[in-house]
């Protein structure tokens, strides 16, 4: 054991590019993950200069907190399972459904809608649709005694909001499965169902695990949706932590509550490593033969898949149509006269928020993309001491509820020597370290499918690790890079839970304005802002896809072109 350790140290030391990359990543993680976390732990466990477990114990024994803990797990599991299933449905349809290009683009666009808008916009549409006077429950079905609040509406909203993450994770993996494999199984006499079960599904396992992990963590950390939809009968931990801090000014209690949240997040993460880590899923070997058109899915099954996808897409489009209408009428539900006024408001009074948000997203996007690919590559492909620790630490800000990350940043970066609060950098850093894990996971999943022999060939031809990474690995993982890039940009435009604490007089964000507008009875500007965000994100994402298509990454050709829905 000691020998292999020192051997890997020596290997790292002999490769300056690798050493530099590892050192750089650790410095960043130290500054933007561990340093704020240390401040948070200090808040939770140090009282009057001494260590204390009292707040933790009193929090654990509180029955309402126990209920919230259980509720959080139930909700996260439901969203993880439902979202992964829905994501798989969309990915399978996109890759194997035999849809024409334009239909595929339309489906992609609908699937991406929830991802590109602030999370609580779905919640608002659900309240309008399913309440006692909801358009669906009351006007359409004639029900009068229905509640729009509780477990099911929260699970529905979160599933619709987060399933595109599963779709984005699963689609390149399904696309990368060589149809020849299925074809071979077919010619060996396997039935379609058997092939699906024994070839296609197992090859998608790393994708499933990743998708479930990402959705589980996203739901566990989401406070905005439950805040609006869960009502009072279904309290969850992130909302409780948020209320504890913002309502009762109880940083200690809030910090403790969110630390409790870390347990399930870490457990799922370790489980996923254990389950996926040991198997081999190589399908890209550099030795790809003629691609054959797949027959793995029966024509009738294709029809069912496509119909199911378009049904879900129709629900999503309906939710967002409501939003668009709200942005164009004088007062939603009271005065349905047409007006551009709300757009006028957001481009005059709301202009600083728009400008600040765009600047921050534009800077965070490339940083997050590179960081995600770099860390993902180091974790999946490099052997160095502390690799697992790096993987774990890189996930922390993603797994923690945003409220806590925000508060931790605010506390840690308010005072010299690192007085970043009030500036743009603190918001950018928050986004990069909180939302790059999607890019990291995508990179890892992509690399798990690519045979190491390709990189080894490069090394044995004399290329250093930097050159191999740049000229061999990077093109292979381009889809993951752009997924990471896209997610950081999208989240920079839409996330709120952490950054609501980081906005300042000088730098404010559209999402914070939206939430404020909603509480200020200004539904019109809130809806107009949301529509603006959706349009901007769509344009940027379409641009990314176009760039990716022009790159013509060797393995990713077909995958790449429509990967981000363009």
């Amino acid at each position: 054991m000691a020998r292999t350790q020192s051997a890997s140290w020596r290997r790292v030391a002999a490769d300056p590019a690798l050493l530099g990359a590892i050192a750089a990543v650790w410095i960043l993680l130290l500054l933007f993950v561990l340093f704020p976390m240390a401040h948070l732990l200090e808040r939770a466990f140090v009282d009057d200069g001494g260590f204390t477990l009292e707040p933790l114990l009193s929090s654990i024994t509180d029955t309402s907190h126990q209920a919230a803990f259980v509720n959080s797990l139930i909700l996260a599991t439901a969203v993880g399972v439902l979202g992964t299933a829905l994501g798989f449905l969309f990915a399978l349809t996109a890759v194997r459904g035999g849809l024409g290009r334009h239909w595929l683009t339309a489906l992609d666009a609908a699937a991406l809608l929830p991802l590109v808008s602030p999370p609580f916009t779905t919640s608002i549409s659900i309240i309008f649709s399913f309440g006692p006077r909801g358009f669906i429950t009351h006007d359409l079905l004639g029900l009068t005694n229905v509640s729009a609040y509780g477990f099911w509406s929260t699970a529905l909203a979160e599933t619709l909001t987060y399933f595109p993450i599963a779709y984005l994770t699963l689609r390149p993996i399904l696309a990368a499965i060589d149809p020849n494999l299925e074809e071979m199984a077919f010619s060996l006499g396997g039935s379609r169902w058997r092939i699906f079960r024994t070839v296609t599904l197992p090859l998608a396992v790393p994708g499933f695990a990743n998708a479930f992990l990402l959705l589980f963590a996203a739901s566990l950390a989401d406070f905005a949706t439950p805040l609006i939809l869960a009502g009072n009968s279904f309290p969850v931990l992130p909302t409780q932590a948020y209320l504890q801090i913002t309502g009762l000014f109880d940083f200690k209690g809030g910090a403790v509550l969110s630390l409790i949240l870390l347990l399930p997040a870490a457990a799922v993460f370790l489980l996923q490593r254990h389950w996926v880590g040991k198997r081999v899923y190589v399908t890209v070997t550099g030795k790809v033969g003629q691609r054959s058109r797949t027959r793995a899915i029966a024509p009738w099954a294709s029809v069912v898949l496509v119909a199911a996808c378009f049904a879900v897409a129709a629900i999503i489009v309906y939710f967002y149509a409501l939003l668009a209408i709200a942005s164009l009428v004088v007062a939603f539900g009271a005065n349905n006269g047409f007006t551009w006024h709300h757009y006028h408001v957001i481009f005059t009074e709301g202009l600083p928020a728009i400008r600040d948000t765009l600047i921050i997203a534009a800077i965070g996007m490339p940083l997050g993309g590179f960081y995600g690919v770099l860390v993902g590559y180091l974790i999946a492909r490099r052997d160095f001491p502390g690799r697992r620790a790096m993987e774990l630490v890189a996930m922390v800000n993603y797994a923690l509820p945003g409220t806590i990350v925000g508060i931790a940043y605010l506390i840690a970066f308010n005072d010299p020597p690192l007085a970043l609060s009030g500036g743009a950098l603190i918001i950018i850093a928050c986004y990069v370290f909180r939302y790059s894990p999607t890019g990291i996971r995508a990179t890892v999943a992509q690399l798990q499918q690519i045979d190491r022999s390709i990189e080894e060939a490069s090394s044995s031809l004399g290329a250093g690790s930097g050159e191999t990474f740049r000229r061999v690995t990077l093109p292979l993982i381009a889809p993951a890079f752009f997924a990471g890039l896209g997610v950081v940009f999208i989240r920079s435009m839409t996330a709120i839970s952490a950054t609501i604490f980081l906005v300042s007089i000088s730098w404010t964000l559209i999402t914070v304005r939206i939430l404020e507008n909603m509480t200020e009875m200004a539904l019109g500007p809130a809806a107009a802002f949301s529509v603006f965000v959706i349009v901007v994100v769509f344009v940027v994402v379409a641009g990314l896809s176009a760039v990716l298509a022009r790159l013509r990454a060797p393995t990713a050709g077909a995958t790449a072109r429509s990967f981000l829905g363009g």
Partner: protein, 337 residues
């Protein structure tokens, strides 16, 4: 890549320019009043003093949490608007600097903190607000007593604010305490019964106004300023008052300890606590009741308030018991279904 570098450099230059521009800003304020109430007031201030105000809006809990977190390196000069109980909590955290504006002496005792830690800029009574169509379909009169809200016809139909985040909710609970002459057990008995008719407790005080306006909820208890705003938007809602009386909360302003622009900040406090600002309420249809004795209440607002029994919330009693009462509310009322 070759194209990217000059583009990035240009972007960096632009950002640096913006950063400098931002740094030159004069007066920084967190407002708890919604932007559409606060913005015209700040514009008037800029007109009169040529001091530019940069502001950001937060609900009271968030604003307070931020000011506390920024204590060692304050980012703002003034905390503007919001119920006094928020300011009372702030005093305990030592985040304010005492300052007495020229109007200070004129104000009645309930509109100022003795040492000048905060000063009131407006008064904001609570009201019952119900959806007109809901009343009609259920054959109800607008609620005229606290007991009316316990009518089973309202089952699962009321929306009001959550006491953990909202000053509106705290004022509401202390109103009930006053109605029951501070007999806590009786008051909580009522609150638990009221719980049966509550559909959801919202994060912010005004959170339920839109659902009530749309008929998603039948009614609720809100600050008058939010209720009249709902009505002004065109939603068919009815405003009524309980005959037993309902509480009113003073809205305050305070100077932040360690403010970077104390002189400008004091000018804003002078402006806000005097007729200079409060006489503008009626012009901009901001339906707060002025705190300054020099300013008359807007006639339309006075008409709504006519005959209503309104009592002030005793901020000393509220401040001393706030935390305990909220905790009891969370433990006993919230789960009582």
């Amino acid at each position: 890549m070759r194209l990217l570098r000059p583009a990035l450099l240009a972007l960096a230059g632009w950002l640096a320019g913006i950063a400098v521009a931002h740094a030159a800003d004069p007066l920084n304020v967190y407002t708890i009043w919604p932007e559409n109430y606060a913005r015209p007031m700040f514009q008037e201030f800029e007109k009169q003093t040529a001091i530019k105000v940069n502001f950001l809006r937060f609900s009271s809990g968030e604003a307070l949490a931020r000011v506390i977190a920024e204590k060692n390196n304050p980012r703002i000069d003034v905390l503007f608007g919001g119920p006094v109980e928020t300011f009372a909590a702030g005093i305990k955290e030592g985040i304010f600097e005492a300052y007495k504006s020229p109007s200070f002496a004129k104000l009645p005792a309930r509109f100022k903190q003795v040492d000048g830690q905060w000063t009131a800029i407006a008064d904001d009574p609570l009201v019952f607000m119900t959806n007109a169509a809901f009343l009609k379909t259920n054959n109800l009169q607008p609620p005229a007593s606290w007991g009316d809200l316990l009518n089973p016809a309202y089952k699962n139909s009321l929306q009001m604010a959550d006491a953990r985040t909202s000053g509106t909710a705290v004022t509401r609970i202390f109103s009930v305490l006053e109605v029951y002459e501070r007999n806590e057990d009786k008051a909580f008995d009522y609150l638990k019964k009221l719980r049966q008719n509550v559909q959801v407790y919202t994060k912010s005080g005004g959170g339920g106004t839109l659902p009530v306006g749309l008929g998603q909820a039948g009614g609720g208890i809100f600050f008058i300023v939010d209720a009249l705003e709902t009505k002004a938007k065109g939603y068919d809602v009815v405003i009524s008052f309980p005959k037993e009386g309902i509480g009113s909360s003073a809205e305050a302003i305070a100077l932040i300890k360690g403010a970077k622009n104390p002189e400008s900040a004091k000018k804003l406090i002078d402006f806000a606590t005097s007729a200079a600002m409060q006489s503008k309420f009626s012009e901009y249809k901001v339906n707060f009741v002025p705190a300054s004795p020099d300013v008359k209440t807007d006639p339309a607002l006075a008409e709504v308030l006519k005959g209503a029994k309104i009592f002030p919330i005793d901020d000393e009693y509220a401040g001393a018991n706030r935390k305990r009462i909220i905790e009891r509310w969370v433990k006993e009322v919230l789960p009582a279904q």
